[in-house]
Amino acid sequence: MSTLKRRSFLKSSLGAAATMAALQAGAGVSANDKIIVGVMGLGGRGKSLLASLAKRSDVHIKYLCDCDTRSAGAATEIVMEGLDEKPTFVQDFRTILDDPEVHALICSTSDRWHALATIMACQAGKDVYVEKPQSMSVWDGQQMIAAARKYERIVQVGMQTRSAPYVQSAINYIESGKLGDVMLARVYLMQAGGPEPTAEEQPIPDGLDYDLWCGPSPMLPYRPGRWFQKHWDFYNGALTGDLIHQVDIARLLIGKKAPNSVFSAGGVYRFDDGREQPDTQFSTFEFDKVTMMMEGGFWCPYNHRIVHLPDKSKFPDWQFSATKIEVLGTQGIMYFGRHGGGWEVFEGDGKTRSSKSVASELSEYKWGGIIDLHFDDFFKCIRDRSTPKTDVADGHHSMNLCHLANISNRLGNQKLRWDGEKEEFIDHAEANQLLRAKYRDPWVIPETV
């Protein structure tokens, strides 16, 4: 294991960034070369991504990185079993950025590191795969796009459903007009849930760089577990943190970029566990004549996630699908499932006064298979420098909806008007104050990337 000691963030990273990028930007990867990556964040999501990466013959995983050295073993094993190579483990992701051999950073940390790691990687001339939700604020996302464009980097966001083949056929169906005029999209995260416990404060364990682990977030006393996910300063919220998948697909299906307004209902109604983010959240976005409704609640045991369905060769029981997307037109309604749920359109029959399925597509790919496809797209784009299916800008526009909903909620569920071009609230200074997250020095999203 190699460990990099703390150093000046501004001096080592931002100061050297332009030089590094100038040396590395545009450095293509030939078809025969393996793409060299470092993976930052080795928790559950990181290991899921590694399981996909370790199947690829076109990738060399040079680095594994986590602030917590205790996560090294299981992640290393995945790579050794899959690729018969042993990556170098590092605690500080800047080691990866400093290595000119590395082509891309895979960022699978928790939310708080996504934006800054992406920006720093772009500055270092690396392409980036960053997990969702990509940002903690609207400002984060803007600077991520700016960095990607300035340094001509590929930045793919981990909303992998866009890479599922059945997405394009759904778009084609809607664009053909068969659904009629689209009037409403509804996205759901309505499922079972429960309280999240908080352990007592403890000494920081050996092997954990807790300062770096907190990163841009406040360095609160150490506790084991996932207590930190209950705080706005660390996390976007359990609802919007997962609803971003559905919001992104819905926005893609209806072809809209930014709403004119947002308002929310809901709050912490169910779980008295100290969480700051709502466990119940209903948000409405107005896009001219089209409306999107986002429904989130952790008190619906009768609904089920598609990935958990016992028979994945069938469509979900749409009525009880916890993570469905509905697109309602004047002719029909489309149900769309993430996790490989496929899509199905129903129309009404005026004669029988009943509705029936008139078009559908099952998904050949499920869950992990769709992650594989998303990486296919990412690595193709690294080689040919084309735009990935979930480009950082696409991710940003979708994530903005989640940020807007959360800001509405934090301001007492106010209705807020939004200027999508300027990306600011109209005549609402208090709301605009929340367009930037709080950052802990030196881990601050830079004004100029």
Partner: protein, 378 residues
């Protein structure tokens, strides 16, 4: 007493002595039927348990299987149905006698074909009492539901002294895995495991690998093996207490032996595994003497306060607890693992940190050991 010679002969001849070093040695198995006038067959099983150093702190766990003739399935003899001094937790070596009131009411003709196997496993006792629980078992969803992070109290239980070995697991496969259940091709890897499966469904151990911990076992494989033994996986809390010790090492009943370090991070204390150039467990370094897994008990100078070996490093160990978070939708059912492995950094081998893994994962860093004690569920 009516000794039935045929039964004695049959049982003796059909019993295959288990020569794997990983089981404690048992010899002189003898089985006979003492017919009762009205109460059905009373089967007596005698054997010698030859491990000299058994005692209440380091007992054996003895479990027995029987079948009613060749070709029949072997079944575990529930210790709850047995009397005598030779089944379940056995605290002294020597001659043992087990009384079993038969397999069914259908008596003597069944007894004639009876076959019995006896296996004994080294355990350590963890006396009941309070300990300092520093982790958050099951990430807050400890299956037992009895724990807080401030303090926790557990009744007496017994933990296997060693990680389950390749020899033990191959023995289990030969008994239960003819159809391949519990076996994965990766187990043939001679550096990290070393169990070979023949075309006829029998299993053999690569010579020299008998006392290495079995790996490439899923959580389900571990549960399958332990059910065969009549054991279960430890809860996280049980695993942690076995590693760091209770507030009193002799338990709360006597409180005569205070734990000098009840909040230690590692089984031996607070020094990291390679402090001052001393290697205390098998972690990710060839300098500890083992580039991959090490034979169980290789670091016995650095046992836990109760004498359990290799809780730190070597193979990461499955627990019965699962990880769930309602706070990131859908992450439910990851099992919690403890202890770190031969691929972990030294700090990853501590006694108070948990990791998570999907239960079907067959990994070269995963192993397990069993517990005999009260049910994990309240």
């Amino acid at each position: 007493m009516i000794r039935i010679a045929a039964v004695l002969l049959m049982a003796t001849l059909l019993f295959s002595p288990l020569t794997h070093a990983s089981w404690l040695p048992t010899t002189n198995l003898n089985v006979w039927n003492e017919a009762t006038e009205l109460a059905g067959p009373k089967i007596v099983i005698e054997y010698d348990l030859e491990t000299p150093d058994l005692n209440p702190a380091s007992p054996a766990y003895v479990f027995l299987h029987y079948r009613m003739g060749e070709g029949e399935n072997w079944k575990l003899l529930s210790a709850e149905l047995l009397g005598g001094n030779g089944a379940g937790i056995v605290e002294e070596s020597g001659h043992k006698k087990v009384i079993w009131w038969g397999a069914s009411q259908n008596v003597h003709q069944d007894v004639d074909t009876l076959e019995v196997q006896v296996r004994a496993l080294a355990m350590v006792a963890v006396p009941g009492g309070t300990f300092k629980l520093r982790s958050l078992p099951g990430q807050g969803r400890d299956q037992s539901g009895r724990h807080t992070t401030a303090r926790s109290t557990l009744p007496t239980y017994y933990l296997a002294k060693y990680e389950t070995t390749i020899a033990m697991y191959a023995d289990y496969l030969n008994a239960e895995g003819q159809d391949g259940t519990g076996y994965h091709e990766k187990m043939a890897n001679e550096k990290r495991c070393g169990i070979l499966r023949s075309e006829n469904g029998t299993y053999s151990v690569v010579p020299g690998r008998e006392n290495y911990p079995v790996s490439y076992v899923s959580w389900y494989d571990a549960v399958g093996f332990l059910r065969w033994c009549g054991l279960r996986l430890p809860t996280e809390a049980e695993w942690e207490k076995a590693s760091v010790g209770g507030l009193f090492l002799d338990g709360d009943e006597t409180k005569a032996v205070p734990n000098p370090m009840p909040e230690r991070r590692y089984p031996w204390g607070d020094e990291i595994p390679n402090a001052e150039g001393i290697y205390r467990c098998n972690f990710d370094s060839e300098e500890d003497g083992y580039p991959n897994v090490a034979p169980v008990g290789s670091f016995s100078k650095f046992n836990s306060p109760y004498g359990a070996c290799d809780l730190a490093g070597n193979v990461n160990e499955w627990t019965i607890d699962w990880y769930t978070t309602q706070h990131h939708a859908g992450l439910d059912g990851y099992r919690v693992t403890r202890g770190g492995s031969w691929l972990d950094v030294p700090e990853g081998c501590d006694g108070v940190s948990g990791a998570t893994l999907l239960p079907y994962k067959e990994s070269s860093i995963m192993g397990f050991r069993g517990v005999s004690g009260p049910p994990a569920l309240p």
